[in-house]
Subunit: 214 residues, 2 copies
DNA sequence: GCTCATTTAGGAGCGTACTCCGTATGCTAG
DNA sequence: CTAGCATACGGAGTACGCTCCTAAATGAGC
C-alpha cells in the first residue's frame, strides 16, 4: 500500500493529462467564443458542450456551473488588465492618478463587454458556490483592493491623517463605488462617459476627507 | 361607442375585482409566510401556488417571476422602514446623525432577513425585467437617495463647500457603500456589527472631504 | 500481453421556473 | 333570462441548468 503511495505524485505527461488539457482547452475556446459572440444569457450549456465536442456531463466536470464558465473566460482577460494596471500605477504623480491608472484597464475591459461584465459582477458579489474560477476572480479583486490600500498608505506617510481612519476600509469604499458604477453602466442605466469622472471625484473627496484638519 | 367608454372607469365592486383582490391577498400571504419561514431558495413557486390555492399559471399573472414575488413581500416591509427612517432623521443634530437615522431602520430590517435581503439586493441591482414590484422597489430606494441628497444640500447651505462637488453623486457613493456592505453582511461574509461603523465612517469622511479647505 | 483499480466521459433523467392555450367565469346588451 | 364578449384561470407542457450512474479509457503490477 505504502509503496503505491509514491505514484500519487501527479504525472503530467500521460495520455490522461493530455486529454484533460485538450478538453479544457476546447471548452475554454467554445465558452469564450460563444459568450463574447452572443451574450451570456442566450448561450446554453448545451451549445458550449456541442461546440467543445464533449458531453454535458463532461462540461460540468471542468466548470461547476454555467457562471463558472464565464468566470473562467473573464479571469483570463482580467489577468492581463490587472498586470497592466499595476504597472501603470507605479509612475503616477498623485494618489488620485495612481488609483485611476490602476483601475483604468479594468474599466476599459468592462465597457467592452457590458453583458458579460454584469454577470461577472453578479457572480462576484452574490455567488455562493466555492468554485475554482470564482475563487480566482475574488483573489484578483483582493489584489487590486490591496493595491489601492497601499497607495493610500503611502499617501498617509507624507500627509497628516486623521487618527481613527481605517485605510483598508477607505479602499473598500472606492471599490464599492467602482462595483456599483460598473453595474449601472454595464446594464445600460448610465452613460459610460460619467464613470471615470464619478470615480475620480469619489477618490478626490476621500483623500481630502481623511486629512487631519489640523 | 362613446357611451360605453364611461364604463371604462374601473369598478372595484364587481365579483371580478373582488376575486382578483382575494387571490392577490392569498398569494401575498403565502409568499410572505414561505419566504420568511424558510429562505427564498428553498421555496418553490409550486409551494406558493398550492398554499395560495391557485394554479401556477395564475401565480405568474400576479407576479411575473419568483423574484417579483419576493419584491412584493419586501416592498411592504420597506414601506414601513422608509417612513420610520424619514421621520427619525428630521430631528437629528448633525448630518451624520440624520443620514444614519434615516438608514437605520432599513439596516435593521436587512439584518433580520439576511437571505431575502441578499436576493432583494441582487434583484434591485441586476434585475432586467420591468415588473411592477421591481419598479416600486427602485422608486423606494430613489426616495431614500433623494433624502440623503437633501440632507447634504442643507449641510452645504451652512458650510463652505468646494465648488465642483456634485451632491447627488456624493449621496450615491453613500448608497454604493450601503449596498455593498448589506450584501457582504447578508451573505455572512462580514460581521453585522461592523456595518454601521463602516457606513458612519464613510459619511464622516465624505462630509469632511466636500468642505472647502479655505 | 492480461487483470485489476482508478479516474474520466457522457447522455438519459430530474427539478424547477415559466408559458401556452383551451376552459371557465363574470359582465353587458337586448 | 339568454347570448355574446372579454377577461381570468390553471395545469400540461417546455426549456434549461445540472446530476447520476453506467461505461469506457488509462495506468500499474505481474
Amino acid at each position: 500500500m505504502e509503496s503505491t503511495a509514491d505514484s500519487r505524485v501527479p504525472v503530467l505527461n500521460g495520455r490522461r493529462a493530455r486529454n484533460k488539457h485538450d478538453k479544457h482547452q476546447r471548452i475554454f475556446e467554445a465558452a469564450s467564443a460563444l459568450f463574447t459572440g452572443q451574450g451570456y444569457s442566450s448561450v446554453t450549456t448545451q451549445m458550449v458542450a456541442e461546440r467543445a465536442d464533449v458531453g454535458t456531463g463532461t462540461l460540468f466536470r471542468y466548470a461547476s456551473s454555467k457562471a463558472e464558465l464565464l468566470l473562467m473566460v473573464m479571469n483570463e482577460q482580467m489577468r492581463l488588465t490587472t498586470r497592466l494596471g499595476v504597472a501603470e500605477s507605479t509612475d503616477a504623480a498623485s494618489p488620485n492618478d495612481a488609483i485611476m491608472a490602476l483601475l483604468q484597464p479594468q474599466i476599459h475591459l468592462s465597457l467592452a463587454f457590458p453583458e458579460n461584465t454584469a454577470v461577472y459582477q453578479r457572480e462576484i458579489l452574490f455567488g455562493t458556490e466555492q468554485g475554482r474560477y470564482r475563487t480566482e476572480a475574488l483573489a484578483r479583486i483582493s489584489e487590486l483592493e490591496d493595491a489601492v490600500g497601499n497607495i493610500l498608505a503611502r499617501f498617509a506617510q507624507t500627509h497628516r491623517i486623521r487618527k481613527d481612519i481605517d485605510l483598508n476600509g477607505a479602499a473598500r469604499t472606492v471599490f464599492s463605488t467602482l462595483h456599483m458604477e460598473l453595474i449601472r453602466v454595464s446594464l445600460g442605466r448610465q452613460d459610460p462617459q460619467t464613470l471615470t469622472a464619478t470615480l475620480a471625484s469619489h477618490i478626490d473627496v476621500l483623500l481630502l476627507g481623511i486629512l487631519d484638519p489640523e
